[in-house]
């Protein structure tokens, strides 16, 4: 019996079976891989906008303003006649520092780096100050913050007229 069934499968049939088998196998593996590939792209993108309008310069009291922190990751700091848009990403390893109003400093919860209101680092392991974003006035008097352009202190970029607003 066993022998019969073996003999009923000739060479040509065997190859057609195996071709079908291979095609199905490759198709399913390919499908699975393409699903995996699709999975690496998020369905919804929560990335904060890179540009936003931040109202009028008079909206901000002097000191640190946290209204854009959760939405865009930006602190607006008004100090000594300047309004700046300060990044809220620690320059040590990228944690999110907290603003401590009582101590007048930003303090990082990850390894304890501390920054002055201006963004200059003074304690903890961080090697350089917080970064500033490009800030400018639109013709209608609204502030526009552009996060695609950063200004780094150690490169001497904080003197650039785009890095602050005179108020």
């Amino acid at each position: 019996m066993n022998l019969d069934s073996k003999q009923s499968l000739n060479r040509r049939e065997f190859f057609s079976y195996i071709t079908v088998g291979w095609v199905m196998f490759s198709a399913s593996v390919g499908g699975l891989l393409s699903l995996c590939f699709r999975f690496t792209y998020p369905n919804v993108n929560f990335e904060p906008e890179m540009e936003f309008l931040a109202g009028a310069p008079t909206d901000y009291p002097s000191g640190v303003d946290e209204r854009w922190k959760n939405l865009y990751g930006v602190w607006m700091v008004k100090q000594e006649g300047k309004l700046i848009a300060l990044s809220n990403i620690c320059t040590h390893l990228g944690c999110i520092p907290n603003w401590l109003p009582a101590e007048l400093k930003f303090k990082c919860p990850c390894h304890g780096s501390g920054y002055y209101m201006s963004g200059i680092n003074f304690e903890g392991p961080t090697p350089r100050p917080l970064e500033r974003f490009k800030i400018g006035l639109q013709p209608d008097g609204k502030i526009k913050v552009d996060k695609t352009k950063v200004f780094r202190w150690e490169k001497g970029e904080w003197d650039s007229p785009d890095s602050f607003l005179e108020v």
């Binding site: 904060p48 990751g73 907290n98 390894h111 003074f122």
Partner: protein, 360 residues
Amino acid sequence: MLRELFNKLSDPIISFPLVTIGFYLMLKHYKTFGSKKFAYWTVAILIPVTAWFLSDHNFFSIISTPDNIPIIILLVCVAFFTWFALHKAALNDTRIEEGLGPIEATPENREKVWSWPNLVYTELFAMIACTAFLVVWAIVFKAPLEESANPTWAPNPAKAPWYFLGLQEMLVYFDPWMAGVVLPGLIVAGLIAIPYIDTNPKGNGYFTLKERAMAITAFLYGWLVLWVYLIIVGVFLRGPNWTFYGPFEYWDFHKVVASFNVNLSEIIWIKTLGIGLPKNLVVREIFGIILSLAYIVIIPPWFAKATRVGRNLFKDVGAIRYYIFMFLILMTMSLPIKMILRWLFSLKYIVALPEWELNL
């Protein structure tokens, strides 16, 4: 009062030297440390001390966080197995001194058994016990569920998983490139390199300290003092803003610790020489660069010439192994060195070149 004292003592500035001294004493007097009497006494003393510790509210609340309980179990295991290895090593070393072989080499211990059923049964039993333990664990302790991830907000303190807290503690003293990439990479590479560097044929299949003193000391220092101790600090003694909190201290978010850090270049050019920082980056950091290079390049050959340990080592393992070994040791020692410099001089970076993302 006593609690205050414990809070003070556990500050890394004090506890790190204490742990290092303790480590030295432990290996120096390992025959005492590894004796059963010592173990019994330690346990006898530790039980009331632990009870007293647990009676403190702040201590208890840190210890009993569901996340932290397995860490405590692991720490107990680390302590036990360290003692156990030294206990066995002490017995064997005494026997070897008397001219008898190690216990593992006695005829009755040389007898061989089959892996099936002897080993497989033990493994099966261990598997079942582990599973049962984990099931009970999962029922008793709930996994903490936190709010959904938010890229513009971080919990305070933000802690890595416990096994990475040694690295996180290292990051307090180093640039992310060093503590996050170079040093962990060297740890892995160094562990892989051990069998190629270590040419000592002794200690194969039996416990001993005396015949492998250098290897065991070097490894255990890195493991117990620079890894496990830092994990303890990171898990139990670091609170909001990564500030240090003693074991009995309340995690007060407003605890202010002044820690104004300066770079070596600032100390030398501004404080000592009284002139401003030079404009040229390399000139500005030249002292740090020279010091770091000297540390890596000059110490190994000097050590091989000037000290007896170095000479013997050089002779035993050959030049290439010697230099690799010394390089790994020097990199290991860079952590305690930087910790001490930070504590003594508020030194932030020896070479600070944020313009090139290079800070040592």
